[in-house]
Symmetry: C3
Subunit: 259 residues, 3 copies
């Protein structure tokens, strides 16, 4: 069964994702539709970019990843389809695929222009339902990538300014790029297993690390650990670090490695 994943900012209250599944199954009854998440913060294309990049490679080859975080829906922003060596990505050309495009070589990009693969009536507010999902379903049914529109150049795509950590001797400065459901603070500083010990600060809050597992963290103070998404995480053992410290996404993180 072809797999189609959904990454959106729809939340869980409305039936928007349910309707999208109806549209897909109408065209491709054998599709296996997986919710990656529907809880991207409304219109937050940076968050969508980060989460898609963290997750897409865990899926089987040929998976079609659809992203509907689309504040520019109905404007001239282009609907696109990206084919990499292993995967397909469908969504708006607004930067949500920035990290994937940087990472993947040999990609093919199509601007979706062929209306026969869309729903008959296209609204100006819900291209997730009217364009992206029917295209995903036709692709899953075997339609060739080149049939969906005209090829465009990688250089022409909208790209986000992503923040890279800055390294200076044994110091690294980064940011908090994501906060998860447990209140764990995921930085943009990659795990580096050559380091064992570090100290650091977010605003005026100190942290120490690295510990091997959550249970070894301090239950009152911020502790650092190698996170499961490939970046250093800050946490409080059995506590919600975000709530307790008030630290927010995009706050600056200063790390000092004790080599």
């Amino acid at each position: 069964m072809p797999i189609i994943t959904l990454t959106t900012d729809f939340g869980n209250d409305d039936p928007f994702d349910g309707v999208i599944k109806g549209v897909i199954l109408n065209i491709c009854p054998q599709a296996n539709i997986v919710d990656l998440t529907h809880n991207i913060s409304p219109q937050d294309i940076y968050q969508a970019n980060f989460l898609l990049d963290s997750c897409y490679q865990y899926f089987p080859k040929k998976t079609i990843h659809v992203c509907v975080v689309d504040p520019g829906v109905g404007t001239k922003r282009r609907p696109i389809l990206i084919q990499t060596k292993g995967y397909f990505f469908i969504g708006p050309d607004n930067g949500v695929f920035t990290s994937i495009i940087k990472k993947e070589k040999n990609i093919k990009i199509i601007e979706l222009t062929e209306k026969k693969y869309w729903l008959k009536n296209v609204s100006q507010t819900f291209h997730g339902r009217d364009i992206f999902s029917p295209v995903a379903a036709h692709l899953a049914s075997g339609v060739n990538v080149k049939n969906f529109g005209k090829s465009i150049n990688k250089e022409n795509l909208v790209k986000l300014q992503t923040t890279k950590p800055i390294k200076n001797k044994n110091r690294i400065t980064g940011i908090i790029q994501y906060i998860d459901h447990f209140g764990n603070l995921i930085t943009n500083i990659p795990n580096d297993f050559t380091y064992k010990k570090l100290t650091g600060k977010v605003k005026d809050i100190d942290f120490q690390g690295l510990v091997w597992c959550f249970a070894l963290g301090n239950s009152k103070k911020l502790t650092a650990i190698h996170g499961s998404s490939g970046f250093i995480e800050l946490f409080i053992n059995k506590g919600n670090a975000a709530k307790i410290t008030g630290i927010k996404t995009r706050d600056k993180v200063d790390v000092k490695y004790n080599l």
Copy 2:
């Protein structure tokens, strides 16, 4: 694979919908179960009626739509199965299918009375698990509609008093019938593409429109747009209109079309 959708007020915290899926798969292992939404406001049969009506036609023909918004569970309210030209609906006879019954011609209605298609032990508080889902699963497995109980008349069904907009020359008065996750305010005034310009008021808050897409809306003031569910929507560009304005479901909307 036969498709069964679920529309409930269970929320996402409890395993009620998970259990329903277990019950269905026990009877019909090949069923493809799709969550339409589990976040109908508790006991809100008006909201369930609106959302079901907006969504059911996006699914493939023969889809079985199960609705469990059922404050009268355990009372004499009847469990019913409705067959329309294209779809099946299963749930309580409490009005949740009002708009569908109005719209669809040639419908067949069965009161669910045949206990051999229910779970063995029927609780008095969870017919979603004990009656509606096993019936849906048996139907998906090929059991004929007439086997589930006795035929009843359309006229005998419970119907909700739904509010229709009132038109008077170039004025229309309606209500806010639904507020989505983004805080967009969906009225009960149908999109009408012969109109281009309008002004209006909800309580003492003015709005203008129509704009072509969200990005063209004002980021401080309420703006009107043709919504994707077929009704005029009011929104604030990149803002949560419901939170910012305090407008609630069932608030009155006055529109003046500038023809």
Copy 3:
């Protein structure tokens, strides 16, 4: 299609469960993955134990139930696989399967040690993704239980101290063990259909019962009913009893049966 259910404390905001589905489908493309719930309170192994126990038997025989409520991830707590007569359970050996182990006879338990069934890179913070789901997927693909590790003894498993109600003549003292989305208060006192009438107290709040269905409950006062999970529930008709009364999980419940 083999069925794998997921019970976690991931919440619905992050793509953790989405990634797990990718991992499973990579190994076992034909798996039918069902979310039981992702909203166990963070690290609440008591709640996980209660909900798993209430739900697992509604699924078809051979269903694989995966539980990832795992505050001890990365410590020496063992990853385990339990085979009962009808089902499989995979998760941490931290007590989440306590009630199932008590209820089921003839169980086989394996400590997961065979790394060839895990992801290549095992993080110290996300064994749900790196160990439990790949093992579940290999099991669903037909790998024999004994291949995953070495057999261990039932007596060696971590068990939770669960609170049983205390009976004394016509009085029973129990606790609130779970509060659902509707605010209904589920006690740990089993339904007993030989009783018809009871009165009781939680803290200083009185309740009466039993009523046949929710609609017969008082809309201002707490009422008792035989709950659908097999335990006495306290509710307020069309109201949120938990919010209105302030009653919390683990509060004491005193019941007096009027025989």
